[in-house]
């Protein structure tokens, strides 16, 4: 099947690198970044485009854009990998909507459209009988969406707890392990590229809250928005808090929590026993669900980075091909 990639940052480039391997059986036919685009229905050479991007900062022809790829229609699946805009998810939401309406599949790593418009986009996809994959929006490589939807199909999820932001988990891990203050650990995370220059989105718990909204709306049958999430970040957590927790064999982690029956959806720093399965180190992500039949199931793995995210996108691409591939 033919794949077009919109958004050519770390994630988009990671996907292109994966598609370069013919073993996966996909043909790259379009690529767009914020300033340029390139398309060819017969197939593009991913390695050439990656090299060009590295050299010039552009993936294609200046003046061309994602809209041109959409208009050309030379693809079967759109990979939408542009950065998240938490406020309504535009322009990606419109782009995904029109792609689905044109009868083409969409796979996205962009949290904005899924958090703000999942029910609407899913309805269009169902109506057009096309796939909408978004495994990469939550916890990177960790197959939590497909794991819960398919692996735990038929179960009722009683609760979900998760470490959904690697930056916060890194900072809290370093505060505990090295006795660093919050500011010192944050600076270290910046130096290592784990935190943005403006870390608000991560440390205030907003990123984790958006992921909770996605999990709540797409897997737990809820219909909530970001403003429904009760959010506290980690920016006020003190070293003394970690020490007091440590005295009783516990530590502090930023936890996303959903209890559908009690309408609880919140992100907050919590005290957990050190041997709790959710106490993972560094930038790892972890999600634990408790279901009526399976009991507790815990997913742990890499929550960010080009290759782990490309892994999740590739899994969605393959699922779509396996399910819809015989049709076209």
């Amino acid at each position: 099947m033919r794949v077009a990639i919109i958004g050519f940052g770390a994630v988009g480039q990671g996907v292109a690198a994966v598609l370069a391997d013919p073993v996966h059986g996909f043909t790259l036919t379009g690529v767009a970044d914020s300033r340029s685009a390139i398309m060819n229905g017969d197939g593009l050479n991913p390695e050439e485009i990656l090299a060009k991007k590295k050299e010039t900062g552009l993936c294609g022809i200046e003046g061309k854009s994602a809209a041109d790829i959409l208009a050309s229609g030379v693809f079967d699946i759109l990979v939408e990998a542009s950065p998240t805009n938490a406020n309504g998810g535009e322009p990606a939401t419109s782009l995904i909507r029109s792609t689905l309406r044109s009868g083409r599949h969409v796979v996205t790593s962009n949290k904005g459209p899924i958090a703000s418009a999942y029910h609407e986009l899913k309805a269009i996809a169902d109506e057009q009988k096309v796939g909408l994959g978004y495994e990469a929006t939550v916890a990177g490589a960790v197959p939590v969406i497909n794991g819960i939807r398919h692996g735990l199909a038929g179960n009722t999820i009683r609760s979900l707890y998760g470490i959904l932001n690697g930056t916060c988990n890194y900072i809290l891990t370093r505060m505990r392990d090295e006795g660093l203050t919050y500011q010192q650990a944050l600076q270290e995370a910046r130096d290592l590229g784990y935190a943005e220059a403006d870390p608000t989105y991560d440390v205030k718990g907003i990123d984790a809250a958006i992921k909770l909204v996605i999990l709540a709306n797409t897997l737990l049958g809820m219909n909530v928005t970001l403003s429904d999430v009760d959010i506290s970040g980690i920016d006020l957590v003190t070293v003394e808090a970690l020490n007091l927790a440590e005295d009783e064999g516990s530590t502090v982690r930023l936890i996303g929590e959903i209890i559908p029956e009690r309408k609880i959806i919140r992100v907050s720093p919590r005290v957990l026993a050190l041997d709790h399965p959710l106490v993972v180190d560094g930038t790892l992500n972890a999600i634990q669900v408790c279901t009526d039949m399976a009991g507790h199931v815990t997913f742990i793995g890499r929550g960010a980075g080009a290759q782990p995210t490309a892994s999740a996108i590739l899994a969605d691409l393959i699922s779509i091909r396996d399910y819809y591939g015989g049709r076209s």
Partner: protein, 180 residues
Amino acid sequence: MTCRRVRTHRCDNVRVSMKLELKDTPGQLLGALKPISDIGGNIITVIHQRDGTSAENTLIVDITIELPEHKLESLIATLQERGCGVVRVGKERLHQKRSLIMIGHLMHTDLTDTVDHIDQTGYAEVSELHMVMPAINEPSTAKITIRAESPEDMRRAISILHEVTARKEILVLEPLEGME
């Protein structure tokens, strides 16, 4: 780890410790425990000791049980009918315990008032407070231990703490336990 909903205790359930005096003959202990389960009580611990102070052929047993409060008197009567001496009965009312961490300007926002909000409920109280103040004008951090009568009361007490601390810009870290 098991996956079950946290059992909601009936409001009138109490935890009671008792010291029983039994004849030191076979079957006596079982005879004393049976009436407890017969009335729907839950046996938490049984400790029996032989010390020098008890009379000859007498066994002293300390038990802790949970049962509906209104059944306590009839249980004591039944035990006594069976020749089992009830030496002491003590109710442990606040058997739910939870520690939380508070971060903020705890003293300047009237710590006494914060604690009073829990103590005044009648169903929960602050039993322990451990505070660390690293420097003047810096936020202080405290571990606060709350005891309450039932899980539902604990939930209410923690929600009161959240309301009070939100007004005072204090961050409260709840434990992740009793996962439902």
